[in-house]
Symmetry: C2
């Protein structure tokens, strides 16, 4: 048998050769930022092949009710579990329990050979992991569906190919970034007289240390893969700490990563699963471990801010909460606006970090092709559009999915008691799951001044506010101020006036948030496309990271240099 | 008269056109990392022209004994001063006093138009500032000489052209980094049927906010320019807070920057001077101001670590103290080794963050072309080499310069009382300055085990230790462990054995420090060449930044996006 090291070099190099074309294309696309996707998002037979859907579902079913197979994984096997699908089933899968100190020690040990692999080798391994994740998209889709409550097609797309695209984007940035400097250079300084001084120099990208991924309940893979792959490709072992409610999609991902690592001759503990039950505190304990040098987090502002203030030994990348905003000034396609916005509010029951919450409308109304609409008229029209969109139970279920946990359900109840005029918010019956909790999005009319307390905090879930303002200028001022102070991941403006659009762009720059203008068609502000859209700006309190850009990878590795006098070439 | 905005565009664009070739060359050189320099380091007449030296000295003399002219600068003019040259003269220059809150407010106001300028415009302004700094190299050289105590030629080179090269390197990284993504892109997603969905997108690099530069006493410009220019070019106003002992070199730099900004039509308050007397606390107050989003710092580990732990609202780039190390295993050029090392220890009296301190030698001695040398023999030979190098007072003064402050002098006294065998450390008389305090470097023999406490902290100044170890393996283990724990900016190995060199490279990678191998000629480990050498690695506790690399600039700006449905082109 070859030594592990020899295998490592061979296997990893093979994977690089296999995926080099894809990696080069991805590297070109991150700087072009047009449309590109490596993994088809259509779950159709013509794309993924006959039987792929059935095989994926069977693979998912075979996972249930037993310990999750992770050969060679450290920790106490089968000790952690308890996931219950929002659609009612207890998954019954158990995972190893791994004490934080043991996880870090295992990762650190495994990381030694990984950090000495070349960027090409690591990118090759990552691309192979992504290829196998793609092949497992149906299995992962079911796992995402039954942990997040996303409707299945969305779970397949966002949790499968779209997440894989985000992962590949991170691979491309990480790979390209490590190749900005040459592996070796010759430094030849001319002398005033005589021979030049010549040094030979090497430059070696070196991972920063153990990386921790703290994933969320709603988008375990889409929000998790960028940090996972950015850290891996820059030479860091990664401890994956899933949300207790959404372990399975990441356990499958970890399992695939370990399989590829082992085939490439690396220690599979380069990727570890650190699952825990609800109420556990291992994320905090892991995050401040002195050997943990990178933390990726998606979740609450409270814990994200805690990480930023306490994990000072690490580069911390957070995505937290914010006040996603829509400024309504005017439109020449009122029907399109209502259709587009009602879908944005409904998709996955507003449980997206990108779902609009604060909808600013001048008290006097805004001009539309259907006449001027006051805040109350607009709220009523939006409510009607929601009713229409969600009138058919099958379609409603395919759009809303299910509420993911008790806090979201309680928040909807609380919002319904705020008083004031509101639309929507009714309980809907899922056509095939008694357990699934569904609410149509609740839209409540509030006043910009009187109800400031209400709309200046995030109401995660199917809750939004039509906020009556003095004017579009007032709306823009509130947008600038509230997002600057509390953050946002998305912002939208509707206007037929180029000057207003220009001022909205200015306000968005000041607030530090990406802007969508006049979305009335088939693109929704909730959607962020890999290789083109930055997700998060890192320029407002909602996130300290984008998924993905150069700043997302530069802090994950360092370039170490050596220099020595050049040897004289004899007889040259 | 044209409006300020119109002038801004014209002036800045002019500067960009003037310097575009230089900027492009610099951008190519940062990724090639061979030898390149934009600003000649020879202070000769043939390079800088007849009379340049005299004019520069006269300009420096004309600054003395009066308020420093900073037209339009906010604050209380002439209120801060007190610099005294290590060569004896009280400079008598006074500077405005600017309260931290006022500095931030002025910077923020001035930054509004600056952050909306294009990366090209900002890079053009920066390159013009550098061109004028270069023209002022003699004046700045004298200012550096009389504040840091550096010998004049070194003050000219390190404080002038070499610092300008480092500044240009930062400009190149900042400029290139903002151009990695296009200003606009067209996103065209194919539909299964019918027309594709098309969005037009813009991408705008936007400065993070007010930037603070906290500079040091010993290398105010060389260590200061990278952060200053990286922040400027990425769109941030910069508050320059010099060390109370070395204000003048940065005041001249700020003055030139303000002059160029005004000519380009920008508010000169984009660059502000926040001078203070010794004992002031304005750096700490400025660093935690909520609007300060970037901090660059060179200085003590204590304050650097405080900044890292407290300026949590900002991206913090620090260069602190460490244990620069030399591992002596074997050499085939013992004379060259002694010559090179004695110069490294002597240059600017060891007051460089890159000066070696800990010299590890096996107790049994190390093999040289002059026979095996024990630690005591090596210490004696090094002492003799120092005596020879510094025997001539003119040459000694031109190498050592003067000790920069009381703490350094006291540290040398304390080191001399450590006991044990030592060489050097004698007081020398400066040939032309009675006030200049000079000591030949003190080399003390210590034991790796018994004296661990002594050599595991930094002794900034002309102090080093020959540390007797069990073996080269022991030396390498100590190197790895002490530098990993306490940091270092430089490390050196001397060995004729490729296997030892390989293991030293491994140890340096683990410790996270750049390595110099077998420096016996005319290149010294203290020297770090712009466009080729990274200064600091950010991979050990001595620094959280390199001057300069992509990680040094990515955190200083964010890329904000807007997207809108594409307009249909009529009749196309």
């Amino acid at each position: 048998m070859p030594s592990p090291d020899a295998t490592a070099t061979t296997g990893a190099a093979d994977f690089f050769a296999r995926h080099e074309t894809l990696l080069s294309r991805a590297s070109a696309e991150i700087t072009a930022r047009g449309y590109w996707s490596a993994y088809p998002e259509s779950p159709s037979r013509s794309v993924y092949g006959d039987g792929a859907a059935e095989a994926g579902e069977a693979a998912f079913e075979a996972r249930l009710g037993r310990p999750f197979a992770l050969p060679g994984h450290p920790g106490e096997a089968g000790a952690v579990g308890g996931e219950v699908s929002p659609y009612g089933r207890a998954l019954g899968v158990t995972y190893p329990r791994l004490a934080p100190a043991d996880a870090v020690a295992a990762a650190k040990a495994a990381g030694r050979s990984w950090r000495r692999a070349t960027p090409d080798e690591r990118a090759g391994v990552a691309a192979e992991i992504l290829a196998r994740l793609n092949a497992a998209s149906f299995e992962i889709g079911h796992a995402v569906h039954h942990t997040t409550g996303q409707p299945f097609v969305m779970a397949f797309q966002a949790g499968g190919p779209n997440a894989q695209d985000r992962g590949l984007e991170a691979v491309a940035y990480a790979w390209a970034e490590q190749k900005r400097h040459p592996a070796a250079a010759r430094w030849e300084k001319p002398a005033r007289k005589g021979e030049p001084t010549v040094l030979e120099k090497t430059f070696t990208p070196l991972g920063a240390g153990v990386s921790l991924l703290v994933a969320c309940n709603t988008f375990p893979t889409w929000n998790g893969y960028p940090g996972l792959f950015a850290s891996l490709v820059t030479g860091n072992p990664v401890i994956v700490k899933p949300h207790p409610g959404a372990i399975l999609p990441l356990a499958i991902s970890v399992s695939i990563a370990r399989e590829v690592l082992a085939e490439a001759g690396f220690d599979p503990d380069v990727v570890l699963l650190a699952a825990e039950e609800a109420g556990g505190r291992s994320a905090a304990e892991l995050a401040v471990h002195p050997d943990v040098r990178i933390v990726d987090f998606t979740g609450s502002s409270e814990f994200g801010t805690w990480l930023e203030r306490n994990a000072l030994q690490a580069a911390v990348f957070t995505e937290k909460a914010g006040l996603n905003t829509v400024v309504l000034d005017s439109t020449d396609d009122y029907k399109g606006l209502l259709r587009n916005l009602s879908f944005s509010l409904s998709l996955y029951s507003g449980q997206m970090c990108t779902t609009p919450q604060n909808l600013y409308v001048p008290r006097e109304g805004f001009a539309t092709d259907q006449g001027v609409k006051t805040p109350a008229e607009f709220g009523a029209d939006l409510g009607a559009a929601l009713d229409k969109l969600l009138g058919d139970p099958e379609r409603a279920a395919g759009t809303l999915g299910a509420l993911v946990g008790t806090p979201v359900v309680e928040r909807v109840e609380r919002a319904a008691k705020l008083g004031g005029t509101s639309w929507g918010g009714q309980a809907l019956v899922h056509p095939s799951s008694e357990a699934a909790v569904q609410r149509s999005p609740l839209v409540t009319l509030v006043d910009a001044d009187a109800d400031a307390e209400t709309y200046r905090s995030e109401w995660f879930g199917p809750i939004s506010f039509v906020i009556a303002t003095d004017s579009t200028d007032h709306s823009l001022a509130l947008f600038r101020e509230t997002v600057g102070a509390h953050g946002a991941l998305t912002a939208t403006v509707h206007s037929t006036d180029e000057d207003v659009l220009e001022r909205a762009r200015d306000a968005a720059l000041d607030a530090g948030v990406h802007l969508a203008e006049n979305f009335t068609g088939s693109v929704f502000v909730n959607q962020s496309a890999a290789f083109s859209d930055f997700h998060g700006s890192a320029a407002n309190p909602a996130a300290s990271a984008t998924l993905t850009d150069p700043a997302f990878v530069t802090g994950r590795f360092h370039t170490l240099q050596s220099r020595r006098p050049a040897r004289l070439v004899q007889g040259a």
